[in-house]
């Protein structure tokens, strides 16, 4: 029986490996083997000096950091509270955190751009207008942070909820409280350290989301990293594929680190 299973297992996995590895290998070949010029690593050497690389990458990283900070600040107290004092709010929070799944990014950005148009159309004489201008500052478009936090809610909720399921929050907090800790202290020094894995998980997922995000940024007219790659694609094919390959490797390294952390925390809790 087991041998019969083995017979089809390897062809299946072989085909899968082929399908998933060939595009990556071919992309690398594409960037180093330029027709008429032989093998050259020129494309990789030019990346850093290409206009827009540093600014767009920095913008993406800044957006990611602020998004992570904001989404954790909003979500951590909320999900801890759901466990402790407000279990009846759980369905509400669950629905709120799955709404972004029902509204695809492209539909979401259609809504956002409509709202942003209200600024010049209706509010130009009110103090709110300044806020509208400020959130669209091209050096740091805060409106993207708002959008990304919303888009990250489902992942972050799932990651934190899974983390909280593994620990007994109530006992932890009650122990800390009966030792004389105030509420903020109990949260910061008893609950959060036990949530480290889940917090890292949520942060990495948000980071990957923001670094790769294209739809919202492009349609609102900002140029973070993914939009920059797209914009050089037309004129410098080798370079754009080289950046794509590198950004893939970086994202994968991030997610693999995350997987490694996940695995380790799991074994730790088991042992």
């Amino acid at each position: 029986m087991a041998r019969r299973v083995n017979a089809w297992r390897w062809p299946v996995l072989g085909f899968a490996a082929l399908y998933f590895l060939v595009p990556l290998a071919a992309s690398v070949v594409f960037t180093v083997d330029v027709p008429g010029r032989g093998v050259t690593f020129d494309a990789y050497r030019r990346i850093v000096s290409t206009e827009g690389f540093t600014t767009s990458l920095l913008l993406s990283l800044e957006l990611a950091l602020v998004t992570i900070a904001l989404v954790l600040l909003l979500m951590v107290p909320a999900v801890v509270a759901l466990r402790l004092g407000a279990p009846r709010l759980r369905p509400v929070v669950e629905v709120v955190c799955s709404l972004p799944l029902v509204v695809p990014p492209i539909a979401f950005v259609a809504g956002i751009s409509t709202v942003l148009k209200w600024g010049p159309e209706h509010l130009s004489r009110t103090p709110l207008f300044q806020t509208f201008v400020a959130v669209q500052n091209p050096d740091f478009p805060f409106v993207l942070v708002l959008a990304y936090v919303v888009m990250a809610l489902p992942f972050v909720y799932r990651a934190l909820d899974a983390g909280l399921r593994a620990i007994d929050v109530r006992t932890l907090v009650e122990a800390a409280r009966s030792c004389g800790a105030a509420w903020p202290q109990a949260l910061l020094r008893a609950v959060l350290p036990n949530l480290r894995g889940a917090l890292l998980n949520a942060s990495f997922l948000t980071l990957a989301l923001v670094l790769g995000e294209f739809t919202v940024a492009q349609l609102l007219g900002f140029t973070p990293f993914a939009v920059w790659i797209y914009s050089i694609g037309g004129s410098q094919a080798q370079l754009s594929v080289a950046v794509s390959v590198l950004s893939l490797l970086v994202t994968w390294a991030l997610l693999l680190t995350l997987a490694g952390f996940g695995g380790r925390t799991k074994t730790a809790s088991r042992g």
Partner: protein, 299 residues
């Protein structure tokens, strides 16, 4: 603000029950307020705009379903149908191809293989957008490595087509299916197979009467999830095919960028509403299925 309120409340409250509940409500409020502004306002703006028509002559606005009617007509309808067709084909193929991979991994005795495939799936399922499109363009595009070396161009291969998009979308949909279906396959207990065999069932009968009914909710759930993520995908298609394949996401992007007839600016919002309705149906099917399969797997 929150902290001071909580502490004051803790001091004044005598009963432990109240002491716990007050901070609970307060901690959830910022999240709800934030989503109301950052998500609720754009969503309502979309809903409002989808039903608003502006008269070109007088400039007066009125409510009507004209935008929605227009969004279900002509090129817009073609795009919507194109998106649904693409997502359906991708979902079915992704499920059919993901299932054997997941089964191969689950039945394997090698823990390392299992971990490797699941980790790789987690990574690949999150991988879409511009880099994916460019990787495929470099591989199978008009000047792609495989196209050149295998002479695919003369054989009529064209990446910038419906079939090409399916090939690219499967790159993140198959791993998504593997991730979705693996827990369900693991939930199939050997005792069930043994019990079936002891009662004289053949392998085919075991699958038909025991395994598939247990797997059905997860399989359907996976299909629906794949459909939803293919339906919402925009970056990959935009970076790859431009507008040579009619898709609703590309039409919306075009309309937001201002490429519409005068007086039809709100068609983008109507199209978005169409998408939300489709995605809403998808989630309405998916969530109960997920709960149903969770019941079997937890038992």
């Amino acid at each position: 603000m929150t902290a001071t309120l909580t502490r004051a409340d803790v001091v004044s409250a005598a009963s432990p029950k109240r002491r716990r509940r007050a901070p609970g409500w307060l901690a959830v409020v910022p999240l709800l307020a934030f989503t109301a502004v950052a998500f609720g306002v754009p969503a309502l703006a979309m809903l409002n705009g989808a039903f608003t028509v502006k008269d070109q002559v007088s400039g007066a606005t009125s409510y009507s379903t004209a935008n929605l009617t227009r969004s279900l007509d002509g090129a817009y309808l073609t795009a919507l149908v194109g998106s649904v067709k693409l997502s359906a084909v991708c979902a079915v193929l992704g499920a059919l191809l993901g299932l054997p991979i997941a089964q191969a991994v689950v039945t394997s005795r090698s823990r390392a293989l299992r971990e490797a495939v699941l980790t790789a799936s987690g990574v690949l399922a999150n991988f879409g957008g511009v880099p994916l499109a460019f990787a495929f363009v470099a591989t199978l595009g008009n000047a792609g490595v495989l196209t050149r070396h295998l002479g695919l161009g003369e054989k009529g291969w064209n990446l910038y087509s419906f079939g090409g998009l399916v090939l690219v979308y499967l790159y993140f949909l198959i791993p998504l299916m593997v991730l979705t279906i693996t827990p369900a396959l693991e939930g199939l207990r050997t005792q069930w197979r043994e019990a079936a065999r002891n009662n004289g069932a053949t392998g085919a009968q075991y699958w038909r009467h025991v395994a598939l009914p247990v797997l059905a909710p997860s399989l359907l759930g996976g299909l629906v999830l794949l459909f939803g993520s293919a339906f919402a995908a925009y970056a990959t298609a935009a970076a790859m095919v431009g507008s040579s394949v009619p898709l609703v996401t590309l039409q919306i992007a075009d309309a937001i960028s201002g490429n519409v007839l005068v007086g039809q600016e709100n068609v983008a919002l109507a199209l978005s509403l169409d998408m939300v309705l489709v995605a809403g149906v998808v989630m309405a099917v998916y969530l109960p299925l997920q709960r149903r399969s969770a019941r079997w797997l937890d038992a």
